[in-house]
Symmetry: C2
């Protein structure tokens, strides 16, 4: 059954050239050992000569498997997510799964839209940042019945796989580090009030309460974090609360911006003011003094996600569970 010669090269084109049927070609390319060696070679060479590119849609439609997983990330420019992504790709290794990246811009609605989009694509699994989702998103995930990973933060009620760290505990631990260094008036500076920020802030509050210290010195904004913003917010806080002797910034970018502002004001860090960030990005070791931070195991989170996902995709039963990969306080020199 020869075919028209227009458009892309198909299995049938190769089959015609070699003189077999397309299912044999399909086998030769997917399960080489199921086809005799000489034939396999002829097919492979014909495929190469003709420039065959498999039609993923056709394969996915026929087999019901897409061999792809979607990874939604809130920000393309945040090194936190790029390292998780790298961990996932490394962990997935040669398993044959393609990672499709979607960008939510920290918006739950956009996340919902992307979940819908990728379900249409028939991805075999979804990896979501965070444990908060819209009701409709949860509904979609329930219907789809594919492995779902929630990451970065932990939850008591995971949809499926949950790999991350206790953001609240991390916030509390860093706050305790301020207290241990003798600080008594410790502020919290945060932008982009996403859920993880809120959890860290809760940790900050609880540590202060436990130590009998005031929790009123908190400045937040919905704007995205930038260095400049860190500086501006630090300025506001110092103007408003001159007695502050420590400021816990919600991430390293803000902390670095705050430090730069201190330098401009000739305010000694940490003598006059302690600073700390969160995440353990490259910049914390580049500044003077190096910034205190909470180092999060992003790479390992990615690899763990890949590992658990491959198990589920390989047939392991769904067994909702949280996996806490911990964190590490790094004092730098700014505390």
């Amino acid at each position: 059954m020869p075919r028209r010669s227009s458009g892309r090269v198909t299995l049938q084109d190769i089959a015609d050239r070699v003189g077999v049927t397309k299912i044999t070609v399909s086998r030769a390319l997917r399960e080489p050992q199921r086809v005799s060696a000489p034939l396999r070679e002829r097919i492979e060479s014909a495929a190469k000569t003709l420039g065959y590119i498999p039609n993923h849609s056709a394969g996915a439609l026929a087999s019901g498997r897409s061999h792809s997983v979607a990874l939604l990330i809130p920000s393309l420019s945040n090194a936190v997510f790029s390292e998780i992504q790298r961990g996932i790709e490394d962990g997935l290794g040669a398993s044959g799964y393609q990672v499709l990246i979607g960008h939510t811009g920290y918006s739950f609605l956009e996340e919902e839209r992307l979940i819908d989009t990728y379900l249409r694509f028939g991805v075999d699994a979804l990896i979501l940042p965070g444990t908060r989702h819209t009701e409709h998103a949860r509904h979609l995930l329930r219907c789809a019945d594919i492995p779902v990973v929630e990451t970065l933060e932990l939850t008591d009620t995971p949809i499926d796989i949950n790999v991350g760290l206790d953001q609240t505990a991390a916030g509390a631990a860093m706050t305790q580090a301020f207290i241990d260094q003798g600080r008594r008036c410790i502020g919290f500076l945060a932008a982009r009030m996403d859920h993880r920020t809120q959890l860290r802030m809760a940790g900050w509050e609880s540590a202060l309460r436990a130590a009998g210290l005031s929790t009123e010195h908190c400045l937040t904004t919905a704007h995205p974090s930038t260095y400049r913003l860190g500086g501006e917010m630090l300025a506001s806080m110092l103007d408003r609360w001159p007695t502050l002797d420590g400021i816990f910034c919600n991430n390293d970018d803000l902390a670095a911006g705050a430090l730069f502002e201190c330098q401009r004001r000739r305010l000694e860090v940490p003598q006059a003011l302690s600073l700390a960030g969160f995440n353990g990005l490259d910049i914390v070791e580049a500044t003077t003094p190096p910034l205190a931070t909470v180092v999060t195991p992003r790479r390992r989170i990615g690899e763990t996600i890949a590992d658990r996902l491959l198990a589920r995709l390989g047939g392991a039963p769904r067994q909702p569970a949280s996996e806490n990969l911990g964190f590490e306080i790094q004092l730098g020199g700014s505390l």
Copy 2:
């Protein structure tokens, strides 16, 4: 023709429920005006009730269009690409095209692999960073015969659409700015020797040659840029060439790292040494002094790409051309 009730909801399921055929349902969802109002409403409500999720593979296979474009980016953590991406998404707006993001890690081979992957997915267009590609990648693109955008840098021989800026001219212009400020011994510091870096370096060289200055003070490495690396490389350069009075860093991250190192060494910038970066990221305005940089119109590049792409996808003929969106020298205070 009723069907088994397992798995996902299909057009047929909706059709059965409403009592029409699936093509009518297909029409109601894609071209609402082609179906009578009352029927359309019943279909839409049934789709909602049943939780219908279109099967993208089936649609793409049948129609030959995927309504998606692939955007390959070298680095997920570089703000340069995230802004281009945002520009593209904004520009694409409600056109219905889905942007699939792929991560090349600055590797040509990985780019080739991703081009292959996304061609299998049947994307309607491809957006590539840079104008350099492997021979096989070019071959794949030629065969695929879909709109291709090459971006960031310019080329005389674009595959199709080319939107970017003249990296060499930008490198030369910034170098000239050093010269205009009276600098005479101007080094070049670069990491991750990608093609754009090489172009900028060529610009640096040509400007120095034109001014009769030495081009020997150049330190490069294949490692990715980090703040720390910027500091270390600056240290090496100053040790080796104590007479340097200016260092043009290949990007803002390196420049910031270099500036931090200067601060540690109590080396006055710009009095003792001028510094400049490239890109115009947030950090250049946060440091003291603010860093000189080449501001690139990333957002506008993204929007322009979207615009040209929509034209091509809408049927405009292929007309290989380069579009130069220029750049802007920002002196900051470090020159």
